[in-house]
């Protein structure tokens, strides 16, 4: 494994007494990738800023929604978020050089962590940076540095921007695993890009007395 990120993850996890990365791997992209059309190029300053803030927290697992909103670290996805991610992710440009892929590694607590990896021989510390390219899409950029033993040089493509793909974001999402302490139903509506308010769609079963959250809608 060329990317040292999983080891860093385990080091931090041991210190914090959190679950380690499981051995099982899930490969997200093995078939040929295609070039993604760039929608809005992030500036180099934005990438540099992301990189400098990355390395102190590179292996810190962060909840996926917070990670998408800019919190640096490893994206930690719940099972539902993982399913949604796999439904929505589109594969983007493959950088020149060694094959690269992304691993959704299952953890003992049922969550998944998304780790970039490749087959390069060098020791790498690669991380993912989310860059919003529009109000509804986020590109996953791979950023990091590589070191060959005995020499200090940058690996091909390291530190550069690679467009992997993007996640189509919904206006509002229903999160079934969380509850609002004030509301009679299970689940919450979380706003992604909805300025007009994310309204819950509910159903009331008058016989059983249950309120059921059936979905979320923007602008109601």
């Amino acid at each position: 494994m060329a990317n040292l990120l999983p080891y860093l993850f385990d080091l931090r996890a041991r210190r914090a007494e959190r679950p380690l990365l499981a051995q099982r791997r899930f490969r997200l992209a093995e078939e040929a990738l295609y070039e993604a059309p760039s929608r809005e190029e992030p500036t180099m300053a934005e990438l540099l800023d992301a990189l400098t803030s990355l390395f102190s927290w590179v292996a810190e697992p962060q909840p996926f929604d917070e990670w998408l909103q800019g919190r640096r670290g490893l994206p930690l996805l719940s099972r539902e978020e993982t399913e949604r991610f796999l439904e929505r992710v589109e594969r983007g440009g493959e950088p020149p050089g060694a094959p690269r892929w992304y691993e959704l590694t299952p953890l003992e607590d049922g969550n998944y962590v998304l780790i970039p990896n490749d087959v390069s021989e060098e020791l790498r510390i690669d991380a993912l940076v989310p860059v919003a390219t529009s109000r509804r899409t986020v590109q996953l950029h791979r950023a990091g540095f590589a070191k060959s033993i005995g020499s200090r040089r940058e690996a091909p493509g390291a530190g550069a921007k690679f467009e992997f793909g993007w996640i189509e974001q919904e206006d509002c999402v229903l999160q079934a695993e969380r509850d609002d302490p004030d509301l009679p139903w299970h689940g919450v509506c979380r706003t992604i890009v909805c300025d007009r308010g994310c309204a819950p769609l509910t159903r009331f079963d008058a016989d059983s007395g249950d309120y059921i959250l059936t979905g979320c809608r923007c602008g109601e």
């Binding site: 609002d180 004030d182 309204a199 009331f204 059983s208 007395g209 309120y211």
Partner: protein, 164 residues
Amino acid sequence: MWGIEIPQVGVELALGVPAFIVAIGTALSYAVGLIRPVAVKARYWTTEAGAELSLDVKNRLWHRSRSLTKVGLVTFPLLRQRLPGWRRRGGLQPSPYVPAGKRIGEIRDKGIKIEPRDEISIRCRLLTPGGERFEPGERLPERVRVQVHFAGARPAVSKPRLRS
């Protein structure tokens, strides 16, 4: 003249004694909570921030506690539509108003236990699922009722009245 004359006092006794027993039995049953085991009193009022609902729920039983598990607002059908079996035929309709508040979350997660002869008060906000604002002075529709569910018992229903 031959015949049997029923004394007037006998008729009174024959009807009066059973009636007395039934009356006493009914009164005792009500007193110990066998009749109307739960009393629910609902009041609502509006403020600038919206509408609030206050529920007083009393467990009238002497011998056992109750677990309040759900609170909801329902719309009853018109009187002429309440033919026998109307509940089974889905006559109860949901109300657009939803109770919300910390106590409602507590009820959803673990319920609230009401000890025998004890009474609890629940205060919550009223909102609509769409988040529409409850205007000051707005009244709840006439046929809206508060329905309170208990574990292992029939739900109790109360008409919310505007607090003066």
